[in-house]
Symmetry: C2
Subunit: 422 residues, 2 copies
């Protein structure tokens, strides 16, 4: 094909938005991802707590190719980028690496967990970024109760029923609340030797308060709600050590068999390969047009980019990723139509920020507007259903929510096993 080639790496919100803007463009668009599916990240914590099944929040990336004739999808891991030669090296699973040339590059590879120099924590404190992470966390939580039920050792039982979450951002808060409600409602009367309502959930935050990206008044309400659900919130508490039996946080030992990491994030490894300026978290410090200062044909969007607006960082939320992806896609589409090198600056339109704290409670801030409570929670639910990518996902999530709400059950309570073999 004689058309210029646009390569987009990453099939999250930003990458998919960029690809869609190039529909109808005279370009060959290639979307590369390690995974064969897009996930609706804001509901990932509900997969980790067995409310939703992985497929409920996932869409096969190849389905996009069906709707967009100039798009092809490649499953593989990008192992190298050569900006000067304009090539990527991609290693598809089980196959020899291949070199992919590009005319335009959109890097939308998101973030991974940041253990702040303590990578040894990873083995004991998994993070929540992918569906596989969510399923692994779900299995850990459910297995902890199974172990508690079967042991006669009081200390071991206590440890199995204590969960420590590190990081009180939206993910930590939402996860803790959902876990607390699973313990109090879903698991009730499921066991004979333990009382799941005795579950202890400790949310540890190194910073001075929970939900730092929210207004202080909203964060306080969220914490009150968490505490009402039985979650212990410890702010200003730094985690010093994590092992298989617990954590040392703020000089105090908490015995816990299940520690989950929802603290910091850092850019994916691909950004470093671009050899451009990055911030402390490894995110590319892009120009206002979202391309690199060194190269107007290389864009970095979504969580992998560090974007500031009016002196404030644009937050790492789905809306920002979508808007940035669209911006890059449009900029490339414009250049494909008529040769130009200038790109209009990106403007983030803040649609608001929400966090949900269990049943019937969410907080919302948008501009100067603040809201919290059951109406906000309903709005949260409606918006999240509306933004899910397919009718089928929307229907499934709705059924699941109504069912969980009314019955207290969570039906994705599966502890995966290895295939049976012989």
């Amino acid at each position: 094909m004689a058309f210029p080639r646009v390569v987009i790496v990453g099939g999250g919100f930003a990458g998919v938005a960029a690809a869609r803007e190039l529909r109808g463009s005279k370009a060959e668009v290639l979307l590369i991802d390690r995974r064969n599916h897009h996930i609706f990240q804001p509901l990932l914590y509900q997969v980790a707590t067995a409310v939703l099944a992985p497929a409920d929040i996932a869409t096969p990336l190849r389905q996009l190719a069906e709707q967009q004739a100039n798009l092809s999808v490649m499953l593989g891991e990008v192992s190298a980028v050569d900006r000067r030669a304009r090539t990527l090296t991609v290693s598809p699973a089980d196959m020899a690496p291949r070199t992919i040339p590009f005319d335009y590059l959109v890097v939308a590879t998101g973030v991974r967990a940041n253990y702040f120099g303590h990578d040894e924590f990873a083995a004991h404190a998994p993070c929540l970024k992918t569906l596989a992470d969510a399923e692994a966390i779900r299995a850990r939580i459910l297995s902890a109760y199974e172990r508690a039920e079967q042991t006669d050792d009081v200390a071991q039982r206590r440890r199995a029923m204590t969960f420590v979450l590190v990081g009180a951002g939206p993910t930590g808060v939402e996860l803790a609340a959902s876990m607390a409600q699973m313990a109090r409602i879903t698991l009730q009367s499921n066991f004979r030797h333990i009382d799941p309502t005795e579950t202890r959930i400790v949310l540890v935050e190194a910073g001075p308060r929970a939900l730092a990206t929210f207004d202080e008044s909203l964060a306080r309400k969220a914490v009150e709600r968490l505490e009402a659900l039985g979650v212990e919130v410890r702010v200003g508490t730094r985690v010093e050590a994590i092992d298989a039996r617990g954590v040392l946080a703020g000089g105090q030992r908490i015995e816990s068999a299940t520690v989950l990491w929802t603290a910091g994030v850092q850019a994916s490894r691909l950004v470093a390969m671009l050899e451009t300026k990055t911030d402390r978290a490894g995110r590319a410090s892009v120009e206002p047009g979202l391309h690199l200062a060194e190269d107007v044909n290389v864009f970095v969007v979504g969580d992998a980019a560090s974007v500031t607006q009016d002196g404030q960082p644009v937050p790492g939320v789905a809306q920002a990723a979508i808007q940035e992806g669209r911006h890059a896609g449009r900029a490339i589409a414009a250049r494909l139509r008529e040769p130009r090198t200038d790109t209009p600056p990106f403007r983030y339109n803040d649609r608001g920020n929400m966090a949900v704290v269990g049943k019937n409670f969410a907080v919302l801030q948008r501009g100067r507007w603040r809201a919290s409570g059951i109406t906000t929670w309903l709005l949260w639910a409606l918006l999240h259903v509306a933004f899910l990518p397919q009718l089928q996902n929307r229907l499934r999530v709705q059924i699941q929510w109504v069912w969980s709400y009314l019955s207290g059950q969570r039906s994705s309570r599966l502890i995966p096993e290895t295939p049976s073999g012989s």
Copy 2:
């Protein structure tokens, strides 16, 4: 507790049915399973072909304990049985083995794949018994297309797009038809370098015909339908060798990267530990009351038992397992009410046997009644939805089916990955 203890091993159709019959009995009922969930086995092939998500056909076993006060659930693997001492040894995951005494024992551990002396086939030809198997098969099928899309080697592409299924019983037939429709409808226009409609699916059967448990006229119709969907059916063809690149069947080599085993079954390993008479497939040859000849307090039910009625074997279908489980549960409940040692003989009430061959076609035989076609297929769908264990499963499966039927999409097209770690 002073009540006698009934231990049920296996949370499939038979085990769950037995447990339910003991609701309200003066007994302490313990249900042991390796997995924390019951699965609706007849729809497992739809998980393998991405129509349904694992949670759609699964129910947490612990939920049963919520509805039945005298029931407790234990997650673990039974590693030994001592019939004389009336104890089991159970190894819960990560924990020391423990000895469990019983007064009554119900073995409902089902079957595993039978590679007929060729256990080395297992590595190349996975079977379909558990959710993990179904997910592994789904990943293999989807990954094969990804590899085909990315290779430039014609032979490798052809091999990746050739699927061999060994065994043309109901599972093999249903799986082959579903795979054929995925290739022709769902995957269409999803790729740029391959044409999924060129997928080759070969169904190999050692016996003289497909669907041996069905009437010959119905089996012929099913095969015609399969062939119309593009599946090659080869009967009277024995598989002699399987490796990573294909199979040797009936003296002929078929190059295939994906071989699936749906041929024979054999009883689970637990049955051998009972040291009782078994048939060739290792199933316990139980008395008409479904207990062992040597021990009236030890029952074997479901696929793990070899039951004959009027000189005919009772088939290994869900209905038979449920009825046998109920029979054992009732027999124990009766003995708990009044001391007796005789157990009435089990009578299988044949509710009929169905197999579905893709969209709009199923075969049914019940007694002397034979039916096939779209009406039978609708009946199949209605019955399977009705028999799903929870309202929530029923709703989800219905949505999924209607969605797949109308759009041709399959939304559980996930290739799982390992958790992200750091």
